[in-house]
């Protein structure tokens, strides 16, 4: 182990050494060639204090990832409100920031026009399938939730902003998602959460191009691992 670090350290030092020398050739020195740098001015190539790994850190369970499933409803603009299911994977970067990747799917209903006209269809059944994926950055507002007088759980309300792709009407559409959610941590690694998200994408299915807001409301469970 020590050997590996030492050789890596040597390799980096070897690479950095010429640059640290180059960095010292400032324009002033360049025009004064008689200024000599003594060897002691140069950073030592090998730093003898190398950290020793004594405590077996692999025994500590690192729980920075959160994997979950969710179900709820999604309102697809002009196409009604329908069931939504999906899964998500988060990585907790700091106590406040996390990154989250989400996949979800729903199925569009009929527009008012389709219902009233009796028979005319704007989309084929396969074009009504909606699926999306997105990647978001989230910010936790950490807190505690007092369920009863003596039952308290750690929780957080979080805000999310991200981008992704929504497949709907036979095409993938660039999507911006803005959302907020709330998670309650019931045990060391078991979480329940609710999320509200606005999926914003351009839509030209009804003839003219417009920006559509598609709101989803879901609840789910997830695990830290």
């Amino acid at each position: 182990m020590d050997n590996r670090f030492f050789s890596l350290f040597l390799a980096t030092s070897t690479l950095m050494f010429p640059m640290s020398v180059a960095a010292q050739v400032s324009p002033q020195n360049y025009f004064k060639p008689d200024v000599q740098k003594s060897a002691s001015d140069v950073d030592p190539v090998v730093d003898p204090s190398i950290a020793r790994r004594d405590v077996d850190e692999s025994l500590i369970n690192v729980d920075d990832f959160e994997i979950g499933i969710f179900g709820g409803v999604m309102n697809i603009e002009d196409f009604g409100t329908n069931a939504l299911t999906g899964a998500s994977l988060s990585y907790h970067i700091t106590e406040n920031f996390f990154g989250k990747a989400t996949y979800g799917q729903s199925k569009a209903g009929q527009t008012s026009f389709e219902q009233l006209s009796g028979g005319s269809q704007l989309l084929t059944p396969s074009q009504r399938e909606l699926s999306y994926y997105d990647v978001s950055i989230g910010y936790n507002l950490n807190g505690e939730t007092f369920v009863t007088r003596n039952t308290v759980f750690n929780s957080s309300t979080y805000l999310m902003l991200g981008v992704g792709s929504t497949k709907f009407g036979g095409d993938n559409r660039f999507t911006v998602n803005v959302g907020a959610g709330y998670r309650m941590i019931l045990s060391d690694n078991f979480i329940v959460h609710i999320d509200m998200t606005d999926h914003i994408f351009d839509n030209d299915i009804l003839g003219t191009k417009k920006s559509s807001h598609n709101l989803s409301f879901s609840t789910g469970i997830s695990l830290f691992f």
């Binding site: 369970n61 690192v62 981008v163 191009k209």
Partner: protein, 227 residues
């Protein structure tokens, strides 16, 4: 508790918070000389249990003031993630523009020397008229790894699929596929822990069946996590 790491408090005391963030109240202190078991690590926080069964969260800096059961060091050095310059793998996502389209991407890279890395990239560009999917393999060189904002450049080869949008042109499914060469320049910045920010310009030359080569410009920003 057999398998937990046991450490002895070396500082005058350490503070146990009720949750893994600074805002959670301190509800217990463990004095010098007492031992705690380290149970979980989450971001910068460790969940510990005292010998009396009290559990709480301590920061990595306060746990640095402890020693292992037989006086081994438990320094913050030990507990910090892999140093940036010793990373092996990087997983990242990007967002930006490809021509006048919005683009999204994902990449995995393997740092096989401190300055050279190989990566697999997938990009999807979504526009009003067409959709592009690009898969590529690239080799990147980052010459000044010790700079805070460190430049890099990369060369790659790949495949580019172009699919016209359904409602506007025909019935779709007329996907064209061509080979592509990519050249990119960018800047990386190590933010915190194992988190990296990048800004990149990529020039993509699609070698089409037609006579001319199609040139595409892609600008992206990205975040990645390394291990």
């Amino acid at each position: 508790m057999g398998d937990f790491v046991r450490v002895k408090v070396n500082a005058p005391f350490i503070e146990l918070h009720s949750g893994p963030a600074n805002g959670y109240p301190v509800f217990h202190v463990v004095k010098r000389g007492q031992q705690v078991s380290v149970m979980i690590k989450r971001t910068n926080w460790y969940k510990v249990m005292t010998d009396n069964g009290v559990t709480g969260w301590v920061t990595s800096t306060s746990l640095a003031d402890t020693k292992g059961a037989s006086n081994e060091s438990f320094s913050s050095e030990v507990m910090s993630p892999t140093p940036y310059l010793e990373r092996d793998f990087e997983f990242g996502v990007t967002a930006g523009t490809l021509g006048d389209r919005s683009s999204l991407g994902a990449k995995v890279s393997w740092q096989f020397t401190p300055t050279l890395s190989a990566s697999i990239n997938f990009d999807q560009a979504l526009g009003d008229v067409s959709e592009n999917r690009i898969a590529s393999l690239a080799i990147a060189h980052q010459p000044f790894i010790e700079w805070s904002y460190s430049p890099y450049f990369a060369l790659g080869v790949g495949l580019i699929d172009t699919k016209p949008r359904t409602p506007l042109i025909g019935s779709g499914d007329e996907t064209r596929r061509s080979d592509a060469l990519t050249f990119s320049v960018g800047i990386k910045k190590h933010l915190t822990r194992n988190f990296v920010f990048s800004l990149e310009y990529k020039n993509i030359s699609a070698l089409t069946n037609r006579d001319e080569t199609e040139e595409l410009d892609q600008w992206t920003t990205g975040f990645s996590v390394y291990f």
